[in-house]
Symmetry: C2
Subunit: 335 residues, 2 copies
Amino acid sequence: MSTLSDVAQRAGVSLATASRALNGSPGRTVRPELQARVEQAARELDYQPHAAAQTMARGRSNSLSLLVNDIGDPYFASIASGVASAASRFGCIVTLSSTGVDATPRVAVLNMLAAQRIRALIIAGGVATDDPGLPQLSAALRRLADRGTRVATIGAEQLGFASVVLPNTSGAEALATALLDLGHRSFSIIAGPDNRTSSSQRASAFADAVRSGGGTVAANQPSGFDRAAGYQAMDRLLTDPLPDVVFATNDLLALGALRRLREAGLRVPQDVALAGFGDSDALLDVEPGITSVLMDTEEAGRLAVEMTLGDNAQPRTEVLGFELRLRASTGRGQR
Amino acid sequence: MSTLSDVAQRAGVSLATASRALNGSPGRTVRPELQARVEQAARELDYQPHAAAQTMARGRSNSLSLLVNDIGDPYFASIASGVASAASRFGCIVTLSSTGVDATPRVAVLNMLAAQRIRALIIAGGVATDDPGLPQLSAALRRLADRGTRVATIGAEQLGFASVVLPNTSGAEALATALLDLGHRSFSIIAGPDNRTSSSQRASAFADAVRSGGGTVAANQPSGFDRAAGYQAMDRLLTDPLPDVVFATNDLLALGALRRLREAGLRVPQDVALAGFGDSDALLDVEPGITSVLMDTEEAGRLAVEMTLGDNAQPRTEVLGFELRLRASTGRGQR
DNA sequence: CATAGGCTGGAGAGCGCATACCGCAAGGAG
DNA sequence: CTCCTTGCGGTATGCGCTCTCCAGCCTATG
């Protein structure tokens, strides 16, 4: 493993010159001839800079860290994709932590990341608003930020950092309006856990929009955020007369509900219409097509990177766009 | 930002003692009283070790790197999930690179990783066997390995490193046998690109097993590896009389084919049976259920970590298990 | 022709930590 | 009671690099 001083020696220059030639130095230049000699020496020795040494000498690292609930979840995977591509444009190494939803393991991870002196931290995925570890998580985050790590969150603006805000409210409103326009009048909401801001935001914005548009919304029971929860929630809804539309606050819930409907022999949208939120890839192959609100999650990742690494002063929060995807599952309003 | 020497000073001990108290030292112990004093001082100062400095002093880092084609793809996301959880058990930081399928950008990434002096590298996802950048990729990989990085691959055993081998051959054989047992006789294969080993392995193993079981296999045309490719391949198949079964070498191809079949008004499995490979989550919500070969990709990630970080001498290659998932899409053989 | 000022190369001081080595004290064996 | 061993704390070196400071040269200017 050759070092910079090997390169310098071989090129017949000083360590300082070799460093300047290979990695540049603000406001300094190296005579082209020496520059070339150094570069050739580096090539001949197959020199690779030692990132840790650079980090130490420079006093800052070039790694960015992404914290997600579950990297196996397509939602987070898609964010990771955006983060990875954007970070590579900044020459940053991306480190990944998949911590689950609880606050406590996150605190542990944050401490490891503090040791890394990471340049930026992006947190995707919320924590339950009533998680007992929340104060410690906030404190750990605050410490990181105080020490120079730029923090941004995606869909967790309540933490008080730069944030990509999901179009929960605007998207849910737009969806509700569109469904009313289609002629639907009675709605049930499968809301997911009520201690997760994104699902409760979607649910309440949807309900408000429906009511102010003259529709009715049935009370709903909190649950999980995945297919199984959707299945169970739908199961409970089956005991009462069905509404025109079941709105699930995310796609997985909607898919779980769909499964229960199929098992009950009910047709979508003839017997009941169904809508989700997120328009994740999981909807791609389902028949009938499920109405949903498309969020460009890759773009969310990109924006978050931009907010932390971009040099131009970025706004502290940025609202992600959305697109309504009206599909067969909500019919054409001829009901 | 307090340093170890701050801690030592506050605790009234030397730097060395503080280091030993906080991070241990092989074969050395610290008197319990001093140990406690150091720990308290660290707590009071909110001391965090400087990972780069430790890396430098120790001469090795504790980061593991995962290289995938596309982290947004559920297959890779699932591997990443396994890798992340296993790596955290080893106290390793995971860095993620999502490089696409081409060899050349991978070489660039490998150079960055070389600078990181990473402890282990896990490569998931193959490269085309005829990629012009392949020799350079091999060379870069070899250099990394020579410098002490432990390399493992998932589904790319041809690179010559420790490897988790996908059950392409055994799984495809088992599937073919099962389909023959169901009474199917004529098969078409949607094989994906023929320069990707996993798809060509599955295709040829499947074809061999079918033939030796008395069935017939139609020649197939290479294509991509995603839904669009499956759609187009199915489109071409529609011009000829349909076989009993269409086997796609991965699930996304199968889903693309399914879409084309639906558009053509053909029913699965009544008009034609359909099978995929991988049993990814994408199949979860599709009706009818698609027969596939389940691979535990999370486990693959875990195994790869074990092979690189585990201290006990690991076998150089490990074959991933599989499970046949026979579902409605291949009928019950009453045809 | 003298001198200021820009350019560029080199010397050297750290960055924060682990660890080899040294020294001292206490305890056991002879 | 002495000598050797063992246990443990401290000192100091160096990991590989960046960057500040200084010195030399060359050019421009009065």
